[in-house]
């Protein structure tokens, strides 16, 4: 009897609709969860994987040695590396051409992990919309510019570049002037073992 009465009273006074109206009215005072996107950007998490960038050493030379391990690691085949030997410094190789097809890239970050010299890093760049698709075929200069923009602090290790992959990087970091001139001594190797321990 009581439930029947309750039911009919709530039906007559539109109780369910009033409940809904109250809920929607409450939400007027709830803070908006959306951002004013182009004006107000989200704070990205530290490990955000955006467009791949190239890094430099402190003296401005690029880290990439053109080994094409990134090309081998890339699951979507978006990286093309053409490497050559530096004519001035024997046995010093570098990438004459490094092409990243951002339209194909899946932002997995495997290339960053594969790089033996920590030359690559995932930049937090995600605004890749463009009117010209060819702009998304990035060359080395563009990627270096990205690296300069997002990783100005060279002492800080970019995310996903792991210690065990950074063998050559450490060699260069510890004995940079000597190794740069192609001089390798016993002392260098000793220093290296100290560094990696």
């Amino acid at each position: 009897m009581a439930s029947w009465l309750n039911k009919s009273v709530s039906l007559i006074f539109f109780a369910e609709i009033l409940q809904g109206l109250r809920l929607t009215f409450k939400h007027i005072f709830v803070k908006e969860i959306t951002d004013l996107y182009p004006h107000q950007k989200r704070v990205l998490p530290a490990g955000y994987r955006g467009v791949i960038a190239h890094l430099r050493y402190d003296d401005g030379t690029e880290k990439c040695v053109g080994c094409a391990l990134c090309e081998a690691a890339c699951p979507s085949h978006c990286i093309t590396v053409v490497s050559a030997e530096d004519p001035k410094i024997p046995q010093r190789r570098f990438a004459t051409e490094y092409i990243l097809d951002v339209t194909k890239c899946v932002f997995c970050g495997f290339c960053v992990q594969a790089c033996p010299v920590d030359a690559l890093a995932s930049s937090p760049e995600y605004e890749m919309a463009t009117g010209n698709k060819r702009e998304l075929m990035m060359d080395k200069e563009g990627m270096l510019a990205l690296g300069d923009r997002y990783f100005p602090d060279r002492a800080k290790r970019p995310p996903y570049t792991e210690d065990r992959f950074a063998f050559f990087n450490k060699l260069k970091a510890s004995e940079f002037p000597k190794s740069h001139q192609g001089v390798t001594t016993h002392a260098t190797l000793k220093t290296l073992s100290e560094v990696s321990s």
Binding site: G20, T24, E32, T34
Partner: protein
């Protein structure tokens, strides 16, 4: 000379009323988007002007300069006339709405807060409101599109059905005030808020509100333009200016039905208590209209769309008997109160 003054005052009054109504039509679209956004934890328009305040102007300009497409296979004359047939009845109803109490004088010209006080005001509004259904139906039929045709048919069925409970809901207040004139209906509710017909005729008020939402094709009764089923309903094939006419008509109708609800059920420009009379009557009127407009948006944010058979069953099985019963009981009770 007298006739001259009369003409000038009338034209000025009409211009002022039209200007105010169209301004409100433009800005109700903005506030609808803003309030809907707030209720859904979004922001609504924010780009054009401060907090998107110039958005209606940008939208209007865009609609004015858009290409006017008339699809092949349409009946060109009817296709062209239909938007006007919808917009004009929506705007013409404002002629008999009393917006305030005091008329004010500038030099030799006296401006009244009402364009004209004809003695069948509410009948006039209802007559013109039902003309609007012609525009919708013809627009849908002339478009040579199945979606538009279905939308037009739905709209015609819905508007014709809900006109009955709408009219029946207004019969109660008409009986109580003893007049069809909007001014007389307002003055019949003078005194405290307890004299307002919303408290005397609560059932009629609810029937009126529900029917008004259905008449203006607003959610949750927006079946004629159900996006998920009919693309855009009867104005699927319309673009540019003609589309904006339908759009304006919908919002003008919203304001018109809010004005009628205010006059008939909420005491028009009357303050809830004579002690609050220091606030000008026009503000009371506007406040009540704004409340109804807010309610329209509020209910849009809350309720989903009804199914078509639910809509029809609700009208014919619940609203119409309720309206009839309300009319009958009101008439009997009123007769006994007056005579004994």
């Amino acid at each position: 000379m007298d006739l001259m003054f009369y003409l000038v005052t009338t034209v000025i009054t009409i211009a002022v009323v039209m200007g105010v109504v169209l301004f409100h039509v433009a800005y109700i679209t903005y506030f609808e988007r803003k309030i809907l956004g707030d209720m859904q934890d979004r922001m609504g328009p924010m780009e054009v002007g401060s907090h998107g305040l110039l958005q209606p102007i940008a939208d209007g300009l865009k609609l004015f300069f858009k290409e006017d497409i008339i699809p092949t296979g349409t009946n060109k004359i009817i296709f062209t006339v239909a938007p006007i047939l919808v917009l004009v009845p929506a705007l013409i109803g404002f002629a008999v709405i009393p917006f305030g109490r005091d008329s004010f004088t500038i030099g030799p010209i006296t401006l009244h807060p009402i364009v004209t006080d004809i003695n069948v005001g509410i009948l006039y509004i209802l007559a013109f409101a039902s003309l609007g259904a012609y525009g919708v139906l013809l627009g849908g039929w002339a478009s040579n599109s199945k979606y538009a045709l279905l939308g037009g048919l739905r709209s015609a069925a819905q508007v014709i059905s809900y006109e009955l409970p709408l009219g029946l809901a207004l019969v109660g207040p008409i009986l109580l005030s003893g007049s069809l004139s909007m001014v007389n209906m307002t003055t019949a509710q003078s005194g405290t808020a307890l004299n307002w017909f919303i408290f005397v005729q609560p059932v009629a008020f609810f029937i009126y509100i529900i029917s008004a939402i259905a008449e203006t094709n607003r959610l949750p009764f927006d079946l004629p333009e159900a996006e998920s089923e009919l693309v855009a309903g009867f104005f699927t094939e319309y673009s540019g200016m003609r589309f904006s006419f339908f759009f304006l008509a919908e919002y003008a109708n919203m304001i018109l039905t809010s004005c009628i609800a205010t006059v008939v059920f909420l005491g028009g420009w009357h303050a809830p208590h004579p002690s609050l009379g220091f606030i000008p009557p026009i503000f009371w009127f506007l406040g009540k209209v704004y409340f109804f407009l807010f309610f329209y948006i509020w209910i849009r944010a809350t309720l989903p769309r009804l199914r078509f058979d639910q809509l029809m069953a609700f009208c014919w099985k619940i609203m119409l008997p309720l309206g009839l019963a309300n009319t009958l009981i009101t008439a009997i009770v009123f007769y006994f109160i007056r005579n004994y």
